[in-house]
Amino acid sequence: MAITKDTVKKISKLSRIASNDQFEENMIKDLNSILKFVEQLNEVKIDSIEPLASTVDQEIIKREDAVKKMNDKNQILSNSPTDNKDFYVVPKVIE
């Protein structure tokens, strides 16, 4: 399960982070040492243990089906990096 340059390229692509040779070299080293560190978990017997996703022991919190107009268009778009008053604008997707 060692991490290679290909692996780094692949996970960088999956996480949408641009990579170059230097970055990949550094990451290979770091990621491999982290993986080696977590490998200790293989020692643990976990056969019939249920995974623990959350330490909260209660029913899921639900809300009523009611519309609360909380934000208007201007507020929502106010942090947008572009100036358009109606839409978020992004470079075109090449389909």
């Binding site: 089906d65 609360k68 929502i76 109606d86 839409f87 978020y88 997707v93 389909e95």
Partner: protein, 488 residues
């Protein structure tokens, strides 16, 4: 019982091919607010005017589930005769796209809210059972517009976060017409339950279509391709036809069908491959740590079950067994929620059988001609029922009723008033009828002779003449009886 056989097989050189289809239908839940936020779900609003901080995935925002959406999903599951799971969980489906603000969609992967179920279709060759694999809740994405500007795409997040029910069928469908019936059935069930408005033009119902082919009789499944996001039945059917033939061609040429995701080009009526990214399928599903598991008690599920309205299939059975409607009549009536309501309103205060005849005959013909939906019918259910009762109690004949009906189309006037005003009451006075019959017989002695010597068909001539004399207001039953007698 029809003796038609299923016959959708495509001919190839190697033999006949069977088409295997599975659908993943995305149905927008009818609710006021979104699945995990309190924004409105109203269609057609100004862009980005129904977006909250949670929908825009601002830093620190968290999802809280809408309890009504849960109810809608359970009701739909019950309508699909499916198992409602007591425990379900929410997972994150991780991928990047401009209309997916969080960078993940909250969905249900391992533990969906609804399990296996089934749907029954009425095909010309008999009933067909289509298995449902599961139904789960998930967030809808926003909308990206790519053709407004050569360099840029525009994103509207109004739709982002609206609740969707994803209904996954088993690969039990075998033809474009079965697919059409399946979608109509799902739509009808959800409309009955008021859990989805099934409005495909507005995007509240769309499907991903999985198509594969195999030699008829083969038990192995072929490689399937997924045609994404088809939003009309017609397009689904065209896409399936094109795709099946495309795959057959490849196979016959000895080539391999690649498993891939395709889009249906509605203009060219062909499917084409989406730009395939090998990472496209690694969604890295994991349980959403911002949400806790959903536990549904049997008590809760039972209470929803109890309050469900009568579903189309049950209603159809009831119409056939209780009221003697034909399979065809019953199918047509239940196929549409609005039709079914209208029918019920008429039938329950008049006569189930006559209501069916009038609905499917004159009323539909009129609606077709005027290009109107039943919800816009110029003749109200109330008045149609009254008219039927006038036939039942002998005030008017079926024939006269047609005239009354024509009048009602104009103003939806009370039929009793029309009958009164136009003097359309049928004559049921035996003496009067006898007189007219005598007159007609006297004036047509030659024909009487011909009838008596065996020309039975002439009976209709006499009836016609009597009716003409009586200006159509003669009680047909009575005319028949007295005439028969007199012509003996």
């Amino acid at each position: 019982m029809s003796d038609k056989q299923f016959d959708y097989y495509l001919k190839g050189e190697k033999g006949d091919y069977e088409v295997v289809i599975g659908l993943e239908v995305h149905a927008q839940v009818l609710s006021e607010a979104k699945l995990f936020s309190s924004s409105s779900t109203k269609f057609g609003s100004e862009p980005n005017s129904q977006v909250s901080l949670v929908d825009a995935a601002m830093p620190g925002m968290l999802p809280v589930i809408n309890k009504f959406c849960i109810e809608q999903a359970v009701k739909t599951g019950l309508g699909l005769n499916a198992k409602i799971n007591n425990l379900s969980k929410f997972d994150r489906k991780n991928y990047f796209y401009a209309d997916l603000p969080q960078g993940y969609q909250i969905s249900q992967f391992k533990y969906p809210i609804v399990g296996e179920g089934k749907v029954i279709l009425d095909m010309p060759y008999g009933t067909k059972q289509v298995g449902i694999e599961r139904l789960h809740l998930e967030q809808d994405a926003g909308k990206s517009m790519h053709d407004q500007d050569p360099q840029h795409s525009f994103v509207d997040l109004n739709r982002s976060g609206i609740a969707l029910m994803e209904i996954v069928s088993k690969p039990d469908l075998r033809s474009p017409s079965e697919v059409g019936e399946y979608i109509k059935k799902l739509r009808s069930i959800m409309r009955y339950l008021n859990t989805c408005d099934g409005n495909m033009e507005q995007g509240s119902l769309r499907a991903d279509v999985n198509v594969s082919v195999r030699i008829k009789g083969s038990k192995e499944l072929g490689t399937r391709c997924e045609i994404k996001n088809v939003n009309s039945i017609k397009f689904m059917q065209q896409a399936i036809e094109y795709e099946a033939r495309r795959q057959i061609e490849l196979i016959e040429e000895g080539k391999v069908v690649d498993q891939e995701t395709r889009l249906f080009d509605t203009k060219k009526q062909e499917t084409r491959s989406m730009r395939s990214k090998e990472d496209a399928h690694d969604y890295r599903y994991f349980p959403d740590p911002d949400l806790l598991p959903l536990n549904l008690e049997d008590k809760y599920i039972e209470s929803l079950k109890k309050d469900l309205p009568e579903l189309p299939d049950e209603k159809k059975q009831r119409l056939i067994s209780q009221f003697n409607l034909s399979n065809y009549e019953a199918s047509v009536i239940i196929s549409d929620q609005a039709v079914s309501s209208y029918y019920e309103e008429v039938a329950k205060v008049s006569d189930y059988k006559l209501a069916a005849t009038w609905l499917m005959g004159d009323l539909f013909a009129m609606l077709n001609k005027e290009g109107k939906e039943i919800t816009e019918s110029p003749v109200s259910a109330k008045n149609l029922a009254k008219m039927i009762n006038l036939i039942k109690d002998g005030t008017i004949s079926g024939k006269i009723a047609k005239t009354v009906f024509e009048e009602m189309i104009k103003n939806d006037e009370d039929p009793s008033k029309i009958v009164e005003d136009k003097g359309l009451k049928q004559t049921s006075d035996p003496k009067e009828i006898e007189n007219v019959i005598d007159k007609v017989i006297t004036a047509n002695q030659d024909k009487v002779e011909q009838y008596r010597s065996g020309k039975d068909k002439l009976f209709g001539f006499f009836v016609g003449q009597v009716m003409k004399e009586m200006k159509g207001k003669g009680n047909p039953q009575m005319i028949n009886n007295i005439l028969k007698d007199k012509l003996k």
